[in-house]
Symmetry: C2
Subunit: 338 residues, 2 copies
DNA sequence: ACTGGCACTCCTCCCGGCAGAGTGCCAGTC
DNA sequence: GACTGGCACTCTGCCGGGAGGAGTGCCAGT
């Protein structure tokens, strides 16, 4: 009973603070939410909540604001799933129609996510542990250089040029056939090992070339599992200009660090449900004044990659989580079909 | 004589204001720069400069700050070329060694430029009017889908998938040969026209496939001339946190608009010398409180693309211009060799 | 267990005054 | 005629002191 109302109070504080960005007091609370009690009673509850570390006051005789722990409780036990607006629903279900290729899919996704959440959006290029090699192409750039192109089953294309002095077109064609025979359809790791041993089995006149090419390809395969991320909606940060130090600056810095972003997103491992890291829960120090809402996307339990948004801890978690989840689901479904 | 000193005064005002970010008064001026005259004399010159629109005062009885017009005069007539520091020189001459492919070159360039100028850097992917087609590859993705890959002479790779229900591997190989015969080595525009007529000359059994493929390829060729840009050094904006509205916000917004960036950079047409757009000189409204320093890069008068930085109008133009020019030159040279 | 009342705290806003920086102008000097 | 020293003036920025107000904690009462 009492516990119950305390939670109500916490929920009310979170929702008011998120929309007003100002400490919320007992009187305003009872007015705006119809808790059937007096301000004095609410004050008692607040004192208890503060004691337990869920809320805090910037200074004596100010209203309360939620702590990271408060937001956490709010999300875990209080936040109902906020249904998406029809407009959002429509936007999400149509934004990918007409996508041209993987780059386009990722680009559209990041723009959509930024738009519906009004936050900074991050989308990781899909990667699949069971991703396989679709095709390897060798193209002569000049007499001395060859471009190696690797195409994977998810449609990603990697390229790298190789020094191959005095290669002939016929040799190149032969090598191309050999390489594809050894790798096509294989998983990335299998392909790598095939390539490693392939050099021993090629006709002697291709030996040197094969060694060169396969070592380059191995390099490409190694880096291709470390996928890229794409960022969008950075101008949404301007909404938080008055929280420059705590929001704008750390986010801008984090965005520059691809490695950090990948690590962050990588933790959102379970597709289907949304991972939230609030303030200090965040492993990356710069982002401990911000929150991350992320979700893996994929299909049939097969994780492809993650996407999410970063913003101030004071954000509308129910809406944001709903949007992130909806976008993740839709992208996963779309990619599974194409 | 008098003219001469007025220019000296303007130069002194610009250089002091750039480093202090505060309006500069007559007394401080004579102290820091040894103009051999009294503050009163300087005041007269300042009044004249203000009359002519080169400087202004935020309010009566404050010091002066340069106007956009003042910066313009400063750059055109007063700014000596600031030699690069040995460290910068070293950084620039080594940052590309070991670059793996075009993406890597562009990525390294944008990071370097951001680092040496301490501004937000923008680098356009190289594009060449005389760019030619190196190779077109068609890869079967599934029974119904084919991935078309276009490789140009500058090493750019474009990809796009095509719906091609029930294509056979043999047909695909034949088509591949035909397409490459029609386009390889041709300029992008020539290749486009060859593709347009090609569909009429193919064997009948390839007719439908050829039409599909060539229309997709035409699309790719059309978009491939509109190149991408890469942005870096955004966290440098945090240095200007106190000019949030005039610097941080407009720059963040502009960066999100690839089209705007391309247009901006596109105007820096002459390789070798550096284009500067100061404040209101800027055609894009959002950026009229900021400045752009850009340069085309390329080799032997052949323009490849542009790169540059965006920052507050109050920036160290001599250094920035020197850095931009040096980086542009070096990248041009590097790309010409590879 | 809840409520009304009350004293208290602390922030925020506003105001006046003061110091300082900088200017414009004028009369004087070389 | 060009420059300078001096002077009065203006405007900002900063400080201190209330006044107002929001909000709290506590206590006594229902």
């Amino acid at each position: 009973m009492l516990e119950d109302r305390k939670l109500q109070v916490l929920r009310a504080i979170v929702s008011d603070y998120v929309s007003s960005q100002e400490p919320v007091g007992s009187k305003a609370l009872v007015e705006r939410h119809n808790l059937g009690v007096s301000p004095a009673t609410v004050r008692n509850d607040m004192a208890a909540l503060e004691e337990e570390g869920y809320i805090t006051q910037p200074h004596t005789s100010a209203g309360r604001i939620p702590t990271d722990k408060g937001y956490r409780l709010f999300i875990d036990r209080l936040a109902g799933v906020k249904p998406l607006s029809p407009a959002e629903r429509r936007a999400i279900s149509t934004f990918l129609s007409g996508a041209l290729d993987l780059d386009d899919v990722v680009g559209r996704t990041v723009r959509l996510l930024a738009q519906v959440t009004r936050q900074v959006a991050i989308v990781q290029y899909p990667v699949l542990s069971s991703e396989s090699l679709r095709h390897i192409e060798l193209v002569s750039l000049s007499a001395d250089r060859v471009l190696a192109i690797v195409i994977t089953s998810t449609g990603k294309v990697h390229q790298r040029s190789v020094d191959l002095p005095g290669h002939g077109e016929a040799d190149l064609a032969e090598l191309r056939t050999l390489v594809n025979a050894a790798t096509a359809g294989a998983s990335l790791t299998d392909a790598a090992s095939s390539l490693g041993t392939m050099a021993d089995h090629v006709p002697p006149h291709l030996g040197a070339m094969a060694a060169q090419v396969s070592s380059t390809l191995l390099e490409v395969l190694g880096t291709s599992t470390a996928t890229r991320v794409v960022v969008g909606g950075v101008p949404n940060l301007t909404r938080f200009g008055d929280e420059f130090e705590t929001t704008v600056k750390p986010v801008l810095e984090a965005l520059e660090e691809q490695v950090v972003l990948l690590k962050l997103l990588g933790e959102a491992a379970t597709p289907g449900d949304v991972t939230v890291r609030i303030g200090q829960e965040n492993p990356y120090r710069e982002l401990q004044t911000t929150s991350l809402v992320a979700s893996a996307y994929g299909s049939d339990g097969d994780i492809w990659a993650s996407l999410g948004v970063v913003g101030p801890t004071r954000m509308d978690y129910p809406s944001t989580m709903a949007s992130v989840r909806a976008v993740a689901r839709y992208v996963g479904r779309f990619l599974a079909e194409s």
